[in-house]
């Protein structure tokens, strides 16, 4: 029974394909996968915009959207109609292109942003046997298409002919290039452990259970450090607070998409969220056991459900971070990437190697633990020491 549920989408696809001529099956199979990915993640995007507005509002003592529900009735459904209303608004808004803009590049920038983001979903295993393309170099593909977003960000910033857009694009490029390195290095630790670039193999490597806990990589010292490094870089890659400098609303107004309105703006928004899901999905695949249940007795819940439960949990954490943390400054951001994230990620690789060659047992845990906490304390203390940041005491005059 649980297997039927688990494989319901896979069996559905095979059943559908069975009615089609053999020559068309590969193409239709691909198209079906694409359609499912787009529909599923676009729906998740709609729900997340609502969830984010609601979550931020609750963090900030507000209610958030609570009016839009089912049209022409008084049913408000906690404002769940808001995403639809926002979509209609974005579609019907006037599309303004600046007079001096490079119109062609200006038009293509949001499109060029969305396509690689969607492509990256191809290698994400969202359930057992549920991956669009099981590539041997899946991880490499993911990072390759992920890097293409930088191009479109610069296209948007440059073609708008706006100084804020240019500043935003400059910031975005510097930030994304810098944080891609710790992002990839922290993933390399998993590759070293699994010995494969295939996302499916990486998930398989985390399938066993060990006592109470599953064998997810996040439950090892190097894996935990790698996961934290990965998620920090993921925040920076998806331009989320506290790394939202490319938008920097209070400084450079809206950064590289300042001159976009209507649905082009919505596309940027969509791409940002889809990028966030994709990179969180990769984090789940690499460190959180992919679609595996956290406990052996919970395996009856379908694998795809586990993937989305984990994804929404990560997204909620990102929303929480956004609601609580102020933004860094450009130089601090760069310092953090090159002086802290990069050495930590490199040292983490050493940690993985040692973990890989030691026999399981307490000594391995102690060494692994020391190799994470030691560098963290040394680097953290060392970097903070030079800055003289501290709470101060004040004197009072009578």
């Amino acid at each position: 029974m649980s297997d039927t549920f688990d494989q319901i989408f896979v069996s559905l696809k095979h059943w559908l394909l069975g009615y089609l001529p053999v020559w068309s099956q590969p193409v239709i199979s691909c198209l079906l996968s694409i359609a499912v990915i787009i529909v599923a993640f676009a729906t998740l995007f709609a729900i997340t915009t609502w969830l984010e507005r609601k979550g931020l509002a609750r963090i900030q003592n507000r209610y958030g959207p609570n009016r839009a529900g089912i049209p022409l009735t008084n049913i408000s459904l906690f404002g769940l109609g808001q995403p639809a209303a926002d979509g209609i608004k974005a579609l019907t808004k006037e599309d303004i292109v600046p007079f001096a803009a490079d119109k062609l590049v200006h038009f293509f920038a949001p499109v060029v942003l969305v396509i690689p983001v969607l492509l990256s979903y191809a290698v994400l295993p969202i359930g057992r046997n549920m991956v669009a393309v099981d590539m041997d170099a899946g991880l490499l593909f993911f990072f390759a298409v992920g890097a293409a977003t930088e191009l479109s960000v610069f296209m948007a910033g440059w073609s708008s002919r706006n100084k804020y857009a240019l500043l935003g694009a400059m910031r975005a490029i510097a930030q994304m290039v810098s944080y891609e390195i710790p992002l990839i290095l922290s993933s390399v630790s998993v590759i070293m452990m699994v010995g494969s670039l295939s996302t499916v193999k990486i998930v398989e490597a985390q399938s066993t259970y060990h006592g109470l806990l599953p064998d997810w990589f996040v439950f090892t010292p190097w894996g935990f450090a790698g996961f934290i490094l990965f998620m920090i870089s993921a925040l920076a890659e998806s331009n989320r607070s506290p790394f939202d400098l490319p938008e920097g609303e209070s400084e450079i107004v809206a950064g590289y998409f300042i001159e976009y309105s209507g649905f082009k703006f919505a596309l940027f928004f969509l791409a940002e969220y889809l990028g966030m899901f994709a990179i969180s999905g990769l984090g789940i695949t690499l460190f959180l056991g992919g679609w595996h249940a956290p406990f052996a007795w919970l395996t009856w819940i379908p694998s795809w459900a586990w993937f989305f439960i984990k994804l929404v949990t990560l997204v909620l954490i990102l929303i929480w971070i956004r609601g609580t943390v102020p933004r860094l400054r450009m130089d601090q951001l760069m310092n953090f990437a090159w002086k802290f994230m990069l050495p930590m990620a490199l040292l983490n690789l050493v940690g993985v190697a040692i973990w890989h060659f030691m026999t399981p047992g307490l000594p391995r845990w102690l060494v692994g633990f020391a190799l994470v906490v030691g560098p963290y304390l040394l680097l953290g203390r060392g970097l903070m020491a030079g800055k003289n940041l501290a709470k101060r005491t004040y004197r009072f005059a009578e």
């Binding site: 931020l56 963090i59 900030q60 003592n61 507000r62 001096a100 002919r161 706006n162 100084k163 804020y164 240019l166 500043l167 910031r171 607070s241 506290p242 939202d244 400098l245 920097g248 609303e249 209070s250 400084e251 450079i252 107004v253 956004r322 609601g323 609580t324 943390v325 102020p326 933004r327 860094l328 400054r329 450009m330 130089d331 601090q332 903070m384 800055k387 003289n388 940041l389 501290a390 709470k391 101060r392 004040y394 004197r395 009072f396 005059a397 009578e398």
Partner: protein, 385 residues
């Protein structure tokens, strides 16, 4: 049309640079989310570093002083609300103080107490909002601001039940106040004041030790004592630079000599000090409020000699000043014996504190500019008048 400024125009006398020397000239404002109104900064950037900054104001100029010279003394009172629209009650008080000096009116004790209570409540909500806005400028997506506004609402509710208006209070009159406290108002005020320390503690616990906040504010936009004095900076900004100058202590206007409170002073004069001095000032304000709310007694609320209609102060001049939340707010009046002032001049703390903006911002990054501007604490209604 080039977006990168060619070599700077003549009025930006620019440094010969080591690098390729391409500079970007940006007009931050007048419609920019962080200029707290319609204010413009013409910034010249080298990368993101500020090499030149010119504040441009006047977008909200409403001819306040000239209008006040054409209308009666009392007629200007509601208009002073609109100067610093966050703190209408302190504006009222400064103006009333100037006119009282001019006309030689005495303020009854109860009215003095009410003035102190409303002014200190104003200070509380102004500083709370400033802290919220400042962290908002650092990009904290509105959460601190909403926390601050939650407190401000309680105080505005008090103002509403006392004066009928939440922001444009128009409450003080020459020689006293417009109306007496409604029944139960003092208890409500006591409750609000009693809740405030908890809010300040919460705010401090969440923000004062936050590493990002410290990294963004410490040693950013530092101002020396000398500069602060020479530029006639007043208010928390001056005290953050370490100068002990609080008009409540210096002038002891009203009945401030009756209250026990201290004046917090900073040592670095940077943005963090400007932030923390305001936090500490809020704690002292709570002390003043507790004493004032305990000490208030019954009595008349307005000088019986004060005339509302046909008010013509004798020939002369007067300068009344108070410690408004943003600094020294002064009104200078010359009377020629007529129903309206011959000369009416406002000394707006926001404007004068803003004049040193370039000195604070040079060499900082563009992200610091908005934070420094936020820590100056301006309201454009007062800057432009």
């Amino acid at each position: 049309m080039s977006i990168v400024a060619e070599m700077p125009s003549k009025n930006f006398e620019l440094l010969s640079k080591d690098g390729d020397g391409e500079l970007l000239e940006i007009a931050m404002g007048p419609h920019h989310p962080s200029t707290h109104g319609v204010f413009r900064m013409d910034v010249v950037l080298d990368g993101e570093r500020v090499v030149k900054l010119k504040p441009v104001f006047g977008y909200l100029h409403r001819n306040h002083e000239k209008i006040a010279e054409g209308t009666t003394y009392l007629g200007s009172m509601p208009y002073t609300d609109r100067l610093d629209y966050f703190c209408s009650l302190t504006n009222n008080w400064a103006y009333a103080l100037a006119v009282e000096k001019l006309a030689g009116l005495q303020v009854p004790e109860r009215a003095e107490y009410i003035r102190v209570i409303t002014a200190e409540l104003t200070r509380l909500q102004n500083h709370a909002c400033l802290m919220g806005f400042l962290v908002q400028d650092m990009g904290a997506s509105g959460t601190p601001l909403m926390y601050a506004f939650r407190e401000r609402e309680k105080i505005l509710d008090l103002f509403e039940s006392l004066t009928g208006a939440r922001m444009m209070c128009n409450y003080m009159r020459f020689g006293g106040c417009r109306c007496d406290l409604p029944a139960g108002w003092l208890d409500g005020a006591k409750k609000v004041v009693a809740e405030t320390p908890r809010f300040i503690d919460e705010f401090e616990a969440l923000l004062a030790g936050n590493e990002i906040l410290m990294a963004r504010t410490q040693n950013v936009g530092a101002m020396s004592r000398e500069l602060a004095i020479n530029a006639s900076i007043t208010g928390p900004m001056l005290r953050a630079a370490g100068v002990n100058y609080d008009l409540r202590k210096v002038d002891r206007y009203g009945i401030y000599d009756r209250f026990q409170f201290k004046v917090p002073l900073g040592d670095h004069g940077d943005t963090y000090d400007r932030y923390m001095v305001r936090v500490l000032e809020m704690r002292e304000t709570v002390k003043i409020l507790e004493q004032a709310l305990a000490g208030i007694s019954d009595g008349p609320i307005i000088d019986p000699k004060a005339k509302l209609r046909g008010f013509r102060p004798k020939v002369g001049e007067a300068y009344g000043r108070i410690e408004a939340p943003k600094g020294e707010l002064g009104f200078y009046l010359i009377s020629d014996g007529g129903p309206n002032p011959y000369r009416y001049r406002v000394r707006p703390p926001s404007l004068i504190n803003l004049t040193v903006l370039e000195d604070l911002c040079l060499g900082q990054l563009v992200a610091d500019v908005v934070v420094i501007l936020g820590s100056v604490d301006i309201v454009l209604g007062e800057v432009d008048r």
